[in-house]
């Protein structure tokens, strides 16, 4: 039996376990943290990476898809200009902070400090038995940034968490608390600076106190050979409003999980997703959203553009608790499939236990509208440009909902740049 068990371990699983042994002496943490890490690794070792038999991983069989985990030591990944000019940049290289860590009016520290003091130990726990990202990140996390935005703060400049990597492994974490009534725009940006294969895990842990109004953008621009495992966990307290944008524009194997719970009436989530998929990539956006208390609202719109042989997945699970009356949740997933070999799987899941609620979901899959294309061409716009214009329009609509003009312009630039390369 033991022999069979060993044979079943994939190359990537073996590499992960080996990487842990190698890294062990350098991983920061007090006793409690190291115990937590060991426990997570043990679970990883005994249960292996999730397969399609685990329901939440059904469309992303990580065990099969993850072929190798690079171990090579990383060179320094230098920071670049932020997406939005004038942003305050908190840079990381290979998961570790570089440069100054100061933001006007915000308490900022390195996450390694919380690991060393043991403060981070309880937060390292996995969400559940299927939480592979939490497990990997919890076992391997080295550093990150901890932000505390004071109550009432109104931050004028965008804060860009710029996670650069030059290949190898990066595991970082971003616990952020937004005080009551605070306002801020955060860009969580993941980018490859080289073509070296990378294995990245990143967990953001957000708490929005009462009345906080936050825009959080995850911009994933990893390299064509990279694995990116992202997770954002969010607690929305009373009247807190979060606009969460997830933009995937890179990576070979990508999973971005979004886990939201509402903890107070009046909480509102606006989730917008843009998936720009090409090559042989596999990209999965998985949402779980708990409308757990009465009077909370959410809208989710995911727009996907799929070229080449790329595969995409969106799983959207909305739970409405029994006493969560007057919940209003609306989810839509629209896909443009631009090649015969492109694929997109959509799995909406509504679990409603309350009776006085408004919940809706819808999904569409289409090619570019032929009449639109003809109209643009009839004005002299060549087919390729006309297609690019229409694809861009399909996703730009989502970005244009943002009120901040500088942000809209910057993100439209990112999208146009991607389409120019892949369209």
């Amino acid at each position: 039996m033991n022999v069979t068990q060993l044979n079943r371990q994939t190359a990537a699983e073996a590499q992960l376990l080996e990487a842990y042994q190698t890294a062990l002496s350098e991983l920061p943490g007090d006793g409690a943290v190291m115990v937590a890490r060991d426990r997570l690794l043990h679970a990883l070792k005994t249960q292996g990476l999730p397969t399609r038999r685990i329901e939440s991983w059904h469309y992303t069989d990580l065990r099969t898809l993850l072929k190798a985990v690079p171990t090579a030591a990383t060179e320094l990944a230098p920071a670049v200009d932020p997406v939005v000019a004038g942003s305050t940049v908190l840079a990381l290289s290979g998961g570790k902070p570089t440069g100054s860590a100061a933001v006007d009016g915000v308490a900022v520290s390195g996450f390694a400090g919380q690991l060393l003091s043991g403060e981070a130990a309880s937060g390292l726990a996995e969400r559940g038995a299927d939480d592979a990202i939490g497990r990997i990140n919890g076992a391997f996390v080295r550093d990150g940034y901890v932000l505390d935005v004071p109550a009432g703060a109104d931050l004028a400049d965008v804060i860009e968490l710029q996670a650069n990597q030059a290949g190898g492994q990066s595991h970082s974490r971003f616990p952020v608390r937004f005080g009551a009534g605070s306002k801020a725009v955060i860009m969580e940006r993941h980018r490859a600076v080289t073509e070296n294969a990378a294995f990245v895990s990143s967990v953001s842990d957000l708490v929005l106190e009462d009345g906080a109004e936050i825009t959080w953008i995850i911009l994933q621009q990893q390299g064509a050979g990279d694995t990116h495992l992202g997770q954002i966990k969010i607690v929305l307290n009373a009247d807190a409003k979060l606009k969460l944008y997830v933009i995937n524009a890179g990576g070979k194997l990508v999973r971005q999980e979004i886990h939201v719970v509402t903890a107070g009436g009046g909480a509102d989530l606006t989730l917008r997703g843009v998936n720009l998929l090409g090559g042989d990539s596999h990209t999965d956006v998985t949402l779980t959203l708990g409308h757990d208390v009465p009077n909370t609202t959410s809208t989710e719109i995911i727009r996907n553009v799929v070229f080449d042989r790329a595969k995409g997945v969106f799983q959207g699970q909305i739970r409405v608790a029994q006493d969560a009356q007057r919940t209003d949740a609306r989810m839509a997933c629209n896909t443009l499939l631009l090649s015969d070999e492109a694929e997109f799987s959509v799995k909406p899941e509504l679990e409603i236990f309350a009776d006085d609620v408004q919940c809706a979901h819808g999904a569409t899959v289409a090619d570019i509208d032929k009449v639109h294309l003809y109209y643009l061409m009839a004005r002299g716009i060549p087919k390729k440009e006309a297609r690019a214009l229409l694809v861009n329009a399909f996703v730009a609509e989502i970005v244009e909902e943002l009120e901040e003009e500088a942000l809209v312009e910057a993100l439209e630039g990112v999208i146009a740049g991607w389409l120019e390369k892949h369209g």
Binding site: Y374, L376, A378, R379, G380, P382, L389, L390, A393
Partner: protein, 251 residues
């Protein structure tokens, strides 16, 4: 400028023939009106001239300045100076009107080997053309044709025509859905473009538009053929007597 020779065309993927041996010649400087009852093939003809691939030419030819355009796609025809003002302009959410205008103008310039317009030059041209057509600048800030009224859409078509300066202008029922004031504005816009090196094909149901855009020739289309050709008095005759006499004589 335009010579259509014994053209036969059908809806692609079906055997429904719509154009059945159509002959038509339009010279440079000429304004030709094409009239005909519903279902005679007027709009189909305009789509075929623009290169829409929902229709398939089965025989005959379309010569533009002496060269066949059958093998050219819509963008290539547009770059050569063929413009169709649509009966039903298409709404395209997410594409800003100004961006569309700029890309269209520069695409055509590029295809002709001309330099791209500078932004100030582009803005000046749009502003000027828009004011002639009494187009509210706010309309141009919206996505292309989205939320435009019927009249606004038609004016936007003529604006595009004025900016793109085509050589062969085809107006497909541009008068439909326009009140008399809008009709005059649109007709003025078209008349401003009349020139010895430009031809205009006006497709219409009614004589009304032809009071404002006075044609040199009038052609009656019926069952996919031109069954009668005359001067502007033919349009008045049709207005007074309907199509029945002509159709009867041709049958």
């Amino acid at each position: 400028m335009l010579e259509i020779r014994d053209l036969h065309a059908k809806i692609a993927d079906t055997d429904t023939e719509i154009i059945r041996g159509l002959n038509l010649t339009v010279k440079a400087g000429e304004v030709a009106a094409i009239m005909g009852p519903n279902g005679s093939g007027k709009s189909t003809l305009s789509y075929i001239l623009s290169g829409r691939d929902d229709y398939e030419v089965t025989s005959g030819d379309i010569l533009y300045n002496g060269e066949s355009i059958l093998e050219l796609d819509p963008a290539e025809r547009a770059a050569k100076g063929i413009f169709l003002a649509f009966q039903y302009p298409v709404e395209i959410p997410g594409v800003a009107t100004m961006q569309f205008l700029k890309v269209a103008m520069n695409s055509q310039r590029k295809a002709r080997g001309e330099a791209e317009l500078t932004t100030p030059d582009f803005m000046r041209r749009v502003k000027e053309a828009a004011s002639h057509l009494k187009i509210d600048p706010d309309m141009l800030k919206r996505p292309l044709n989205v939320g435009f009224s019927g009249g606004e859409k038609k004016r936007a078509e003529i604006l595009q025509m004025a900016l793109l300066e085509p050589k062969l202008c085809i107006l497909d029922e541009t008068d439909s859905g326009l009140d008399i004031d809008a009709l005059k504005i649109v007709a003025d816009g078209v008349n401003a473009l009349r020139s010895p090196d430009r031809a205009v094909v006006v497709i219409t149901h009614y004589q009304r538009l032809l009071d404002y855009i006075v044609p040199d020739t009038v052609h009656v289309l019926y069952k996919g053929q031109v069954i009668k050709t005359g001067d502007k008095t033919l349009a008045h005759e049709l207005e007074a007597n309907g199509y029945a006499d002509i159709i009867g004589a041709a049958a």
